[in-house]
Symmetry: none
Subunit: 208 residues, 4 copies
DNA sequence: AGGTAACCGAGACGGTACGTCACGTCTTTAC
DNA sequence: GTAAAGACGTGACGTACCGTCTCGGTTACCT
């Protein structure tokens, strides 16, 4: 059923080129109020302790309006998270694959520090009882970055910069794993020290 | 209060050499029933969806008995998890630091595949709203392994096997991060392919 | 506002001799669909459990169309009930007042057995939180019968058939009370046995 | 399920002679608070418009505590109604059956005037979608009175005071029907005028 | 013929209440 | 003092309807 709603949602999002559907159209103010309220709550409360009711209350919105458009609170949190400015993936264009990966990691670290880290951690936590949430997080946030990393690693290998006997999937895990480990490790997430040292050290590990 | 109980618990566990406290002693059958029931529930249900009530029901035990000895369900799950055979840390004694790390990783992977991975993932998820749980997981399960890795990395660096300009903390993250990433990534956790390739590839990354 | 709508409704019904109002006229098919759907739902569901939404759904009609013409579901149910054939009051013309009353009661019993009884019971029940509904039921269904009974009782008293020291209002209650008591008593409403015996026995009670 | 709870309730009520059941006993203050709150709400609100939540709120009690002991709000209302002083049935002992019936009716009228009438009307209304409620009302309130009337009518017939060709069931309906009709007729229920005249006139109807 | 007014279906909206579940605490009897 | 049992106040769940609203579209009368 979660899937059903997610699909409906996706369809509604996409068929804006066709003529408007019958009935009163979705309220944009309500949508914004919900996502704003969610973002504000996520500032100082772990997702697990946030309830749909508290979001509805804070947004001045009926519970049903939330349930009509999102299957669960993780999805709301995810949309609130993804809608922020500065979260789009930018494909780094640099001379070498190594440099591009370094930029990508720096960028990702910047995006996952502070509140955002807490939010992502909350979503991952919640996903442990609902796989579709995790899939959505991958699809909407990670996929582009992973695919970019994949091609960069291949390029680096072809150009002789990176070890040739290296599984790309595992290499990607070694680039992203430490990040998420820190994000999930509570307290203050990614430290300044880690943010500075990790991209360079990760690259070293890929070198031939 | 969680902390208070955890401490009481620790004391109770350790003062078995002192004279017995007054009153009826703790019921060992009840303790076992609780942990058994928890393990069975964890086989096919994510921790998030398990309730203290369901554990009590399944164990044929009063809720109070659980609350008396554990501060929350994550702690129960953790004790159920740690009490299994084959989970102790074994300090690998081999010729080289590299080989020792490889053994340690292989061992850890073996311990985190299947159900155990789901349990650990559940505990990490739950920890997002309660830091003490994460601390306990580190203390009881990860600490020894991390410390061993730490000294092995230092030894490898001294012996010239590992890169000298490498932050040990980050290196450890690169060894453990991919593991936990897989464990948390749902579905079937650590794949056979990953299990075989990762330890070797991780070591490559440390090499000078 | 309920009153307002009821009044508007009444006007609309009656001013068919005046020139038609501007704008699209009321849709007769929609009106019929609503009343039909209501009747069908009332066959196997108590009024209390029927919702405006379920009527609209079943009738293939917008909720607004119902709210535009009826103030609440009891009014819809009542119109659905009253629109049936065989429910009009027929003033019995017989030699004696006693016989006329007997005919009237027999007729009323016939009209209130089966589904109709359940519907009336539902309307009375609903009326406990909205007096206007009860008023409407009296006005549209009971009034004529009560007035007829009133004059028949007076006639019977004048002709010496009925006790002279008898309050007519109370006498009417004794004629109608048992009927509605049975109708409201659930299960199967008015039994065959009651239907046969009551009119005669009620008359006995009026005799001088 | 309603039945299940009602049965449980009944059992709990009756086995007070056996030894106390395990577990924390039912809270008498909570029970009283619930019934008091219900009575107060019924003073100025029809039962249909009262919600379990409003009762719980007013009583300072959890919703579950109500659901634990009563299957629906009608049952709560009924117990609140029946627990009042002066509602017990008193078997009138007088010289003649006629006088006894007159006393019984006077007593019943007294018990059903004012608020109590509204409450009973609300219960009957609610019962239209749940037969068990009506059964309970009969069992706990009406049964004794009906049985007493039954034997009084028989006695009156034997003694030659009442018409012999009279169905006792229907006679009882003619005694009680008008009462309930008035109670259900909204506004102010049983009028002073009715209260004074009805018992005598009803008796006249039974006379031979 | 075009304008306009009221209708129609669809369905989103802010609400209220539902009946259930689990929480963590408490109060009882029994061991 | 611990244990099982189970009631307690609390609060969130996800659902059903409420009565209102806002759309695009329709249908009749009135210029």
């Amino acid at each position: 059923m979660a899937t059903e709603k997610a699909i409906r949602h996706a369809i509604v999002e996409q068929d804006n080129d066709e003529r408007a559907a019958a009935g009163r159209p979705r309220s944009e103010p309500a949508r914004k109020a919900i996502l704003d309220a969610t973002r504000k709550l996520l500032m100082h409360t772990p997702l697990l302790q946030i309830s749909i009711e508290s979001i509805a209350r804070k947004a001045g919105v009926g519970k049903t309006t939330i349930y009509r458009w999102w299957p669960n609170k993780s999805s709301v949190a995810m949309e609130a998270f993804l809608e922020q400015p500065g979260l789009q993936h930018i494909n780094p264009t640099t001379a070498t694959a190594a440099e591009a990966i370094e930029r990508l990691l720096e960028n990702l670290i910047r995006q996952l520090r502070g509140h955002n880290g807490r939010i992502v951690a909350g979503i991952i936590a919640e996903s442990q009882s609902d796989e579709t949430v995790l899939d959505l997080l991958y699809e909407k946030f990670l996929k582009e970055r992973v695919e970019t990393l994949y091609s960069l690693i291949e390029r680096g290998q072809k150009e002789g910069d990176f070890a040739i006997n290296m599984d790309a999937d595992i290499a990607i895990d070694m680039l992203l794993g430490p990040l998420f480990l820190r994000v999930l490790s509570g307290e203050h997430g990614i430290s300044q020290d880690f943010a500075e040292k990790f991209p360079k050290q990760a690259l070293m590990a890929l070198k031939a």
